[in-house]
Amino acid sequence: MLTYALLKLGRALIVVWGAFTASFILLYLMPASPIELLFPPNERASIDPQAFKEMERAYGFDRPTWEQYLDRLLAGLHGDFGTSVGTGKPVIEAIGEALPNTVILAAAALVLASLFALSVAWVATYLESAWLRNLISSVPPLLVSFPSFLLGLIIIKIFSFQLGWFPPISGDGLRGLVLPAAALAIPVSGPIAQLLLRNFQTEYSSPYVLTSYSKGLRKGQVLNTEVLRNASLPALTQGGIIVGELLAGAVITETIFSRAGIGRLTEEAVRAQDVPVVQGIVMLVAVCFVTVNFIVDVSYPLVDPRLKAIPKGVTA
């Protein structure tokens, strides 16, 4: 078990290091002049050549690439990704300010998405009529194909402009959270629902279901007590991807609802080509992804005892 966990941890660290290296190459080496990117776009035309040279020296861009890379890597290990070009704030601070808003949004969306995906899968398995079952089963593919920005606009149109139930611009508090959470939850629930639906159908056709029926349980009971647990556990393995989807989806949702958070920060940083902030966000997302995956990998054998024997056999 310990070797298994260490192996997973090693892979996780490699991915994080890889993400740092890739973002360094992409953001600091690829642009013709990273210095220019460090100026706000409107001032770039009027950079004094003298100041340019000084900036180059101050930021260390005149040194060899590997030296710059090592410097940034060391700083990055301490959580220092430089300062934002637009606001002059340290990147870590800007992310820290935006993060709580997004965590609340993402958590609310995750709860909604899981409940929605579970009910779709449950209902699609429970219904006796093949016609209705097919109808419900076609919901997840529809969700996957739905452009999230269109969904946000439709939600605003209906619930803010037509019905007037919620404000179109997300403020603080619960009332401002409902619409963005729903707009983020629906696209995220698509892939989860697809996975759950497949699992429900696989599990439902297993022999133990027949046994339960023969013991006199009804369909609802069988689904709730047996199928639900077996079918939904594998969804945990998608944890990292789902967290990534939530963070990526937040870019669109927070932009549409004018809500402060990581998504808006990303959108603004990309718009201003604010390289340090972009790199900070990449690292945040990669670390989140890797952490969730690591937790899932390590805890999964504990949750599902059937798997306990396998990793031991494989790694030992």
């Binding site: 892979r11 989806g249 990449v282």
Partner: protein
Amino acid sequence: MTIRLDQPSAADPPSTASGADPTLDAATPSAPPRRRFGVFHPIVTQPGLAVAVLVVLLAVAFCVIPAAFTWMNPYVPDTSAILAGPSATQPFGTDRLGRDVYTRTVYGAVITLTATLLAVSIAFFIGTALGLVAGFVRGIVDLVLMRVVDVLLSVPGLLLTMVIVSALGYGTTNVAIAVGISSVANFARVMRAEVLKVTQADFVEAAASIGTHRVAILLRHVLPNSMSSVLALIPLQFGSSILAIAALGFLGFGAPPPQPEWGLLVAEGRDVLAIAPWISLFPGAVILSVVLASNRISRALQPVRGL
């Protein structure tokens, strides 16, 4: 029960080949089992798939000959018809400059779908090549390439695309390249898995034992036999690339404003959503139907891999 969703379509031809003949030999008349399988009438049995193919064909036609579908100009403003609602002559209504939204959507297909094609080709060629090399060469090359794929997968598609765009700069081509690079990992993974499977096959071993050169084995035996599942991934990538390109267009990183790129069309209607919802909703519905259609086709092509 399990395969009910996926069974139609791709599973059909083989299932008749293997399924119908035994029933025939089992002393039943030829007609009933055939009709039961109904493979000779795919349009009747799968109206959804037929519609999906039609939608994609229509979108491609928009892209190739936009002028055949509309006689109006997508760029010229018309002050006499500002924010006019949908009508018989202007089915999608007009925008705030009086331009016909339907015409702009038709011409937008040229931009969005060309960008999508570029994105999918980049992802396909680079991804397939990486997967092929990783799966065939194995060893340290495989290890390194797969960690690169892991890194690409650790940042979700849209964010990765935005990061690449912030390095490359704005514009449709850059967005297409970014979307392509961020989906390389999908193709690489599937291709590698497939190559690993094919390399185990007897005919590869046979080819190696008669002294065929490794490169020849790779190109003549492994490559053609591992292409099918990567090819089936294309429609799925096509759908998600349209979504990604439109999303970036919506955020304003893609084509610059006068152009009728699909995501940009939706964004243009954003601040007049309360009074003129058609500006956003109709182009949005077009994006939705094309993505839905290509996802439906991809589901038909890959019966096992549904997600």
